[in-house]
Point group: C2
Chain length 225, copies 2
């Protein structure tokens, strides 16, 4: 076996992972799965696509060993094969953000209040939250918060925000985050809070970005693997 065909074989294997992340739908699946395990049904509903299509994409991700699946009753539950897969997604998005001007423009366009959306400095956030100077809320569904969330963050799912808004102190700035820069839940929350006269900002990080930056998370159970 000569050197060239060996090399071809190696790069071909890595390209299998590359092909797996070459589809918008599969990237979105990876991002949602980075928040915790989900059934095919949940994923399809999250992406607004047909269950069959979701299943097909998950099958390809599984073929590249980026996700694993198990049956739980009537449902099949998928999860990422490891945290390195979430880090790969973050790295990929960062390269795209850095080099694709169009992506930045689209990102800017998608925010309702561009002037306040500047991602907060990560360094000071922890300390400010610890001292109670700011209130950090996690607006993702409760299950995702339970699996892992930012230190000092309290769970306040978007769906409950309207009815529970009184729980948030009036004299503190509120910082909301969700799944990451592409997720719109925090933006919705902030719009809602501002309409109620609260001072609110968005933290564009999600738990994956936070983890990729080497910062600590609070998790109920330490994930095996």
């Amino acid at each position: 076996m000569n050197k060239r065909s060996l090399k071809d074989l190696l790069y071909e294997q890595v390209a299998r992972v590359g092909s797996a992340v070459a589809s918008p739908k599969r990237l979105e699946l990876l991002e949602v799965l980075a928040q915790g395990e989900k059934t095919v049904e949940q994923l399809a509903s999250e992406l607004s696509i047909d269950i069959k299509l979701a299943s097909a994409h998950l099958k390809r991700l599984k073929a590249a060993h980026l996700v694993t699946s198990r049956r739980a009753g009537k449902h099949v539950v998928y999860q990422l094969s490891g945290t390195d897969v979430a880090l790969l997604w973050v790295q990929l998005r960062q390269v795209a953000e850095e080099h694709l001007l169009e992506l930045r423009l689209a990102l800017d366009r998608m925010v309702a209040n561009p002037e306040h959306l500047t991602p907060m400095a990560r360094e000071g956030l922890l300390e400010q939250a610890r001292r109670g100077e700011i209130i950090v809320i996690d607006v993702r569904p409760r299950a995702e918060y339970d699996r892992a969330h930012l230190p000092y963050a309290r769970s306040m799912p978007l769906s409950e925000l309207v009815s529970r808004i009184a729980e948030l102190p009036r004299n503190r700035e509120i910082v909301a985050y969700c799944r990451g820069p592409f997720c719109l839940m925090a933006d919705e929350a902030i719009e809602m809070l501002r309409n109620k006269g609260r001072q609110a900002r968005k933290l564009s990080d999600g738990v994956s970005e936070w983890q990729a930056a080497g910062l600590p998370l609070e998790t109920l159970v330490v994930t095996p693997q």
Copy 2:
């Protein structure tokens, strides 16, 4: 513009980067370019492919803004858009190595002396090299060494190794490295050295892996950007 189509747009942009790294040839181009800028001719020769094909792949990489090009006389020189692109390649390869068993098997198969190829611990290497207990040689072409190399490493291109072998002290272990785990230059050097009765090991890291691990490099010029 609704939320769904906005999201689709964002993920589609990231998927453009994904598509760019979904081809074995383009991945190999990125790895070679991570060693420094090269002309189309050099790249085509390095990959053993037609110049036209190399140009086509480079065009796609350029469309994804992963590389930039400039004209230098008769030649067109390509280089990576930034170090984050090299880090993306490393992350992608690491995920593939971690989760694709076949890749690991292929990697094992490609080494002549599997028992000695264990990648050396990075921690101790610097110190041992500093104290002169081991001799670290960089067997890549001189130009790549000049751009960036590991601390305490001396340049000893594979092509010159046979004639310059006397420069290496007989009573020291020699550690050879090249472009990374997929590069075979260090393996060739080690085989050669062992045939001459030297004690030699391979460090499977290249400068990108070294950098990704957060370790220092020696560079002649600080690269702008």
